[in-house]
């Protein structure tokens, strides 16, 4: 527990010191992404194209490595494929320190060079290394690590940079404004670049057919780094190869838009080195610039394996290699926005995709340090320009960590009854309690109200916090004494006979609705029946969402098979599956692709609907909106007025069903204001955990800012969103179906 406590302390400290700067910048980038990609008519086509190029390139990577070697050598350059960091550093230091006898190497920004820690290797060999990207230079002066893969110094304030310059350069009147600071850096770095011997760059993409490398930059330092030095070393992961120059195009259109929200960055350098430009001689500067010195330029492409070829052979980690390092997954992530890459990151990489990189390059232990911070909210999935299923990579790595870190001393045989999963004994108990939430809920419902009273008792909560890590400041779900399934049976089943119905629906009794929030289930039944739907509420197994969120993939897969077995006969009978809890619907429509055979997945996904999506469809197909509750009828405490504040569930938005509730409410005459926050911060069970309670509340802060003093009625579809909004706003929201369903 001590390392967990240290982790919680570290997160708290980062939120206090760097959180504001990181939040302002990443949220700005994220808004910019929406605006910039929104200006593209063919955004989805470009993403598909980019994805296909990456699939193809990684598929025949060994062939492309051979091809680029031929191309670069034909151009007069050299290719070195380094097995690992040490191999790369040996090659680079021999070339730089020994063959070139270089005093100074200037660098433009390169994450791969940070991965191999080449600066340290060069310094040890007596070479002065200068970072020329302004953000990287600031960090080099401050001796700090990047907090973001694209904008490395976003955690630094303008004032902090000014103080740093004052201290480092002994200035009485240091530059203060952004303009002054930039001009100061431009002059300092400009002089140092003039005397440099070797220039090092990364490469965003490399075309195997020509040996052309593409660099995405804005400052111009990469251009100067290449132009001012006669020896160019480019360091790039092998995954940067694409087959042809023409295939650069979709990436150029997507990378800036996806990352910082720029349609294109100032400079896209497409170099086929050695470059032809003359090397300006800043010492003997009376000689003509155009002196054919370009002919003597030397170029070395150092391609880094460092675990990548093994990642390529790893069915689950392979997709990581499609990553173009745009930072969209960082900027779209609620947790990242609050803590930045110093907490949500490993040795080199940060944000959601970092779990894949760090697991593949450094190992599971490094990934384990921050992997928890991916809550599976999935908001990074539509943001990723190459469509990487980043939450799935996090889940897989979490599963591997669970299996690798079994501590046999733990005595949770005591709790085996409570956690009937397929996971190794010894797995952290908090993980298993959440992962087996269905069993816990069933038991809780059977023994309510005793269970509820016990759950609220102070000493017991303290004990639970110690044993399970569930934060005592959270209200625990209160179990209903009669489940939705039992209520439905007791009322005599369907009110609309199948013979008179337009359609038949199986209302899926998800765990949260069935045992905790039964009222929204009843509302769903009323709403459906009001629109002449024959409804069934059979007893069905849980979807497997809770175990999946804990990385318990085998348990989730077993649950998926059970749920599918329970639903498939209904699907075959032509019944529509309607789901109230968005995270369970997301299982059916998205994650089951990984857990079930393809045909089973497609069959269930095609037949499944979100309740509000389904009501929307009924209204679109001639259903009578008058059968639902319009705002005028809302005089009671449940529906006060017609002004609504709606927070769509994160996973519902990702699978494209977040906006149907808005459409239905507006159709009925409500005035709806939709939240702009990617995820409320609770993200299923995440916010219940003691280590992450404060972070979770911080992630929800923008929601408090937007809806905190609203007089609107707050609605939200997710159970955990409801808990979070209750904690943030002090009042418990209802599900949109409770708003629009006719009264009992």
């Amino acid at each position: 527990m001590s390392s967990d406590a240290a982790k919680a302390d570290r997160i708290r400290e980062l939120m206090a010191t760097e959180g504001d700067a990181v939040a302002a910048n990443t949220r700005g980038f994220n808004e910019g992404r929406y605006e910039s990609t929104g200006r593209l008519d063919d955004y989805d086509e470009l993403k598909d194209e980019a994805r296909a190029i990456k699939e193809d390139a990684i598929g025949r990577l060994p062939e492309l490595v051979d091809e680029v070697r031929e191309s670069v050598e034909a151009n007069g350059g050299t290719v070195y494929v380094a097995d690992d960091a040490a191999d790369a550093n040996r090659y680079i230091t021999e070339l730089t320190a020994e063959e070139r006898d270089a005093d100074r190497l200037v660098k433009s920004k390169s994450m791969t060079s940070e991965e191999i820690e080449v600066n340290e290797a060069l310094a040890d060999a007596g070479v002065d290394v200068l970072e020329t990207d302004l953000g990287e230079w600031v960090l080099q002066l401050a001796d700090e690590a990047p907090s973001h893969i694209v904008a490395p110094a976003i955690h630094k304030s303008r004032e902090g940079i000014s103080e740093l310059f004052a201290e480092q350069f002994d200035l009485d009147e240091p530059p203060e404004t952004a303009e002054e600071l930039t001009m100061f850096a431009r002059e300092r770095l400009g002089e140092l670049i003039e005397d440099a011997d070797v220039g090092m760059t990364g490469a965003n993409f490399i075309a195997a057919d020509s040996g052309t490398m593409l660099l995405v930059t804005s400052e111009g330092n990469a251009r100067k780094t290449v132009t001012a030095t006669d020896t160019h070393v480019a360091v790039a992961g092998v995954e940067k190869l694409v087959p042809t120059v023409e295939e650069f195009s979709p990436f150029v259109e997507l990378i800036g838009r996806s990352g910082t929200g720029q349609d294109v960055t100032s400079y896209i350098s497409t170099l086929t080195p050695p470059v032809d430009s003359p090397v300006p001689d800043f010492e003997a500067d009376e000689t003509p610039l155009a002196d054919d010195s370009g002919a003597d330029r030397d170029f070395h492409l150092v391609l880094i394996d460092n675990g990548r070829m093994a990642m390529r052979d790893d069915k689950e980690l392979r997709e990581t290699l499609y990553c173009i390092r745009c930072s969209a997954c960082s900027n779209a992530c609620g947790n990242f926005q609050s803590v930045g890459g110093h907490a949500f990151g490993g040795e080199t990489y940060s944000g959601g995709i970092a779990t894949g990189w760090e697991a593949g390059i450094e190992g599971l232990d490094v990934a384990a340090e921050f992997n928890d911070l991916c809550t599976g909210c999935s908001r990074c999935v539509p943001a990723c320009p190459v469509g990487i299923d980043i939450p799935w990579i996090n889940t897989v790595v979490r599963d591997r960590i669970n299996r690798g870190e079994v501590d046999s001393r733990q005595t949770d045989w005591l709790f085996e009854e409570l956690v009937p999963d397929e996971e190794p004994a010894g797995l952290d108990l908090g993980t298993r309690i959440v992962g087996n939430y269905e069993t816990v809920a069933k038991l809780g419902s059977l023994t309510a109200p005793v269970a509820n009273r016990l759950a609220d008792a102070g000493p017991l909560r303290a004990l639970a916090e110690r044993v399970t890590g569930i934060d005592r400041r959270r209200d625990l779900p209160e179990f209903a004494s009669e489940s939705l399934v039992d209520w439905f049976e007791r009322r005599g089943g369907a009110a609309v006979p199948s013979g008179e119905a337009a359609r038949t629906v199986v209302l899926y009794p998800d765990t949260a609705t069935n045992y905790v929030d039964v009222e929204r289930g009843k509302a769903a039944v009323r709403a459906l029946e009001a629109l002449d739907v024959h409804v069934r509420v059979p007893d069905l197994p849980g979807s497997g969402r809770p175990p999946l969120s804990q990385g318990m993939i085998s348990t989730a897969a077993a649950a998926a098979e059970d749920a599918y077995a329970g639903l498939v006969t209904h699907v075959d009978a032509g019944r529509d599956v309607v789901v109230i809890e968005p995270s369970d619907l997301a299982m059916f429509r998205s994650e089951y692709e990984k857990l079930l055979p393809e045909r089973s997945f497609e069959r269930l996904a095609d037949a499944s609907y979100d309740i509000m999506e389904y009501l929307f469809g009924l209204l679109e197909n001639g259903g009578d909106p008058g059968a639902l509750r319009a705002p005028a009828a809302g005089t009671g405490p449940v529906a006060s007025g017609n002004r609504i504040a709606y927070h769509p569930h994160c996973q519902a938005r990702t699978i494209g069903v977040g906006e149907h509730a808005t459409a239905v409410m507006e159709r009925l005459g409500y005035d709806v204001r939709v939240s702009e926050t990617e995820c409320c911060g609770m993200a299923g069970s995440f916010g219940y955990k003691e280590d992450y309670y404060e972070l979770s509340m911080d992630v929800g802060e923008p929601l408090r800012e937007q809806f905190g003093d609203t007089d609107r009625t707050v609605v939200a579809a997710g159970t955990s969103c409801g808990e979070q909004l209750d904690a943030l706003l002090g009042s418990s929201p209802m599900h949109p179906v409770e708003l629009v369903a006719p009264r009992e």
Partner: protein, 184 residues
């Protein structure tokens, strides 16, 4: 090049804070003279078949490194313009187009309208064969150099602080256009 491309290009440049002046090739020298600061270095415009375009005498087209360092403005041609983005393709050639466009405060770009392509994909269709067959080095520059690393957006990080585009139409184009109109 279509009229739509030309107006899209100009609109993008305007949004990027890049000034544009237009004229026939014969007006090139005059337009560059108006746009360039002092002192100015440049790379002579290539003698394409239609080239009536020239640079004013005050632009040093055979600069030393010292001239480059002292220069306020660098004048170079662009090989291509990308209308949808307002990008210009600068070739890093033996004549020093790259340093002349980079180690200065203002970059004056001379682009022929005929070299405008609609979108990024066209630019890479153009680049592909040149990269494979001629190993060209090209920088697609879009607006001035910029950074947001120092606590706010600033133009002129390492590269030029300002960019000006001189957009040239072929001298006989006016006549050609009016002929088309007459046919209609």
């Amino acid at each position: 090049m279509s009229l739509a491309d030309r107006s899209a290009f100009k609109r993008r440049l305007d949004a990027l804070g890049v000034t544009v002046t237009e004229g026939p090739e014969s007006a090139c020298s005059e337009l560059v003279d108006e746009a360039a600061g002092e002192p100015a270095v440049g790379v002579a415009l290539s003698d394409a078949p239609s080239a009536g375009a020239a640079l004013p005498d005050r632009i040093e087209t055979e600069p030393t490194t010292a001239d480059l360092r002292a220069a306020h403005t660098g004048v170079t041609a662009a090989e291509l313009g990308v209308a949808a983005y307002g990008s210009v393709a600068i070739e890093a050639d033996r004549d020093g187009t790259e340093p002349v466009s980079l180690f200065v405060d203002r970059h004056v770009v001379v682009l022929r309208e005929a070299d405008l392509v609609p979108d990024m994909a066209d630019a890479f269709e153009w680049l592909g064969p040149r990269a494979r067959d001629e190993s060209v080095d090209v920088v697609f520059a879009t607006g001035p150099s910029a950074t947001a690393d120092m606590g706010g957006l600033v133009h002129g990080a390492h590269g030029p602080k300002a960019v000006h585009v001189v957009l040239l139409r072929a001298d006989d184009e006016d006549a050609a256009e009016s002929e088309v109109t007459a046919d209609e």
